[in-house]
Symmetry: C2
Subunit: 316 residues, 2 copies
């Protein structure tokens, strides 16, 4: 790591905070991980974060030119203010960018965590050779991010890329966002588990029935599908149909090169991707359907760190 | 018209072709309109078009620097080739850009007609003061176009902006594109008329029943809604719900400044817009919902001419 333009990438999660030195070409250097423990509020957490980052900076004295932070939103990448971070206690209108910048004496850029991860995949991951990507993150929720013509598209309010809240069923299940029938209410990991529980409760036979209802997870549904359980296969394929409907709308709208899926549920890609590809082929115009490829994210948990660092680097 | 950088904008439609001199600031000069009459094929139509355009050029000798053409697609704005123009007889893989350019001795840029109209509204119409617009054209079909961060986004295959083919009902009506349940299958003008006929056939009482079924149009449904007919009001409001679902998905995805509706059915905006606004408020995150405005297109039939001219001007 002798890069002359090194940055630090930070990924703030509800449970852990991870950070690493990132070189000019995205190579990862020293990294740290510590518990978020946000219960004491931002006035305790931000100085603690700064201290950890000073430790990283000290490993390459004089080399670190800036810090990029991926943080749960809503927030403003322009002003560096976090309006609200649902999983961080007491985070309301926190000027995270300014406070970290003052503490470290370095420029700091903050971005929505999903957007940072999307930029990471675009820069060095699954999207590194293309211009336009639609990215979904399948986990507790269904997140998203867009790179359009080589630019991260965050919108004027840093809220663009909320791809999990496209409507799949106008009068469907209530979503965590308050609306009805969103993709997230059908295709997030908890939604997949809920749909499995509902099917079992309706009397469907399945090897899933050997688990207590409260222990059913999307991972177990994937596992039982792999073992040949008909209901589990049906649920995974139906999940893929929903994901395909949403992806097809974005393929017709944006004519992207790639649709990338990241997050824990991507482990089920052998069930998901063939169906998603079929739905795109059925629902999209010929040229965009022929161009687009459905792929898995490549950077895993590092996407956010790398992307946040890369965005800070570009801004320097 | 003494602009030193004048272009000609051309709008090729299935019925008429319209063209005009367009000044540097978008001011319209002399214009022409003639029947497309494509039945003799492109080898007759393109020279005839060139002759008409030479007549326009002769009105400002030496001033016209280029020609922009809006044409039904699919086509390539990069190579100037029209792959297929559904309403133009015999147009398959026609190098329209090159052929017009050779005939006129001027640079020629071609664009999808919906994209040209979107750029027109962005440059000089409803979107002239903003950065990001989602535009729908409500007519025989439901077309669309996107300007994202000040750039017309056409995608690598010039197919971006196909916003009418988002899925509203997964197992719904068959759409002209071959898929099921697209917005276009519910909210185009013919779809509105079809839904009215279906409601009447099912025995619903309505002042619409005084028209022969084959004479029912979206315009008549709008008219009867204005006169207080309950079924017509219901159909217009339901149409707006569908449009709102589609718009809300794009507002969450792109965080635009404006959603613009153009095309004939925008005459029903008093019925459509309040419902679309409510659905966006219900279904979108707070910040993008607070930002976005729902407005009518302002340039009418001139949007395509102005937009095509503006795109050619930018490329010169």
């Amino acid at each position: 790591m002798t890069s002359s333009k090194m940055t630090i990438g930070v990924d703030i999660g509800g449970t852990n905070i991870r950070a690493a030195l990132v070189g000019e070409d995205g190579e990862l250097g020293a990294h740290i991980k510590f518990r978020t423990e946000s219960e004491h509020g931002p006035d305790e957490l931000i100085p603690r974060l700064a201290e950890h980052l000073r430790g990283l900076i000290a490993q390459s004295p004089g080399e670190v030119k800036g810090v990029g932070v991926g943080c749960p939103g809503p927030l403003s990448s322009t002003t560096g203010i976090v309006y609200e971070a649902p999983n961080l206690f007491g985070w309301v209108n926190i000027p995270l960018g300014d406070r970290l910048s003052e503490a470290l004496g370095l420029p700091v850029r903050i971005h929505n965590d999903a957007n940072a991860a999307t930029w990471g995949e675009f820069w060095l991951g699954a999207g590194r050779d293309v211009g336009t990507i639609v990215m979904y993150t399948l986990g507790t929720g269904v997140g998203g991010g867009l790179v359009i013509g080589g630019r991260l598209w965050t919108g004027p309010d840093d809220t663009a890329g909320e791809l999990g809240h496209i409507c799949i069923f106008p009068d469907g299940e209530r979503c965590s966002c308050g609306a009805r029938g969103c993709l997230e209410a059908y295709a997030s990991a908890p939604a997949v588990a809920r749909r499995a529980r509902e099917a079992l409760a309706s009397g469907r036979e399945s090897s899933l029935s050997r688990y207590p209802a409260e222990e059913l997870t999307a991972h177990k549904v994937d596992h039982e599908a792999d073992a040949g359980d008909a209901l589990s296969i049906e649920i995974m394929q139906q999940t893929a149909e929903y994901l395909g409907l949403a992806a097809a709308a974005m393929v017709n709208a944006l004519n992207p090169d790639l649709v990338i899926y990241g997050g824990g549920m991507t482990a089920a890609k052998a069930w998901l991707f063939p169906v998603i590809e079929r739905v795109i082929a059925e629902r999209c115009f010929d040229a965009p359907a022929a161009r687009v490829r459905v792929v898995a994210a490549e950077l895993g948990d590092d996407a956010g760190i790398i992307g946040a660092a890369g965005l800070a680097m570009s801004a320097l």
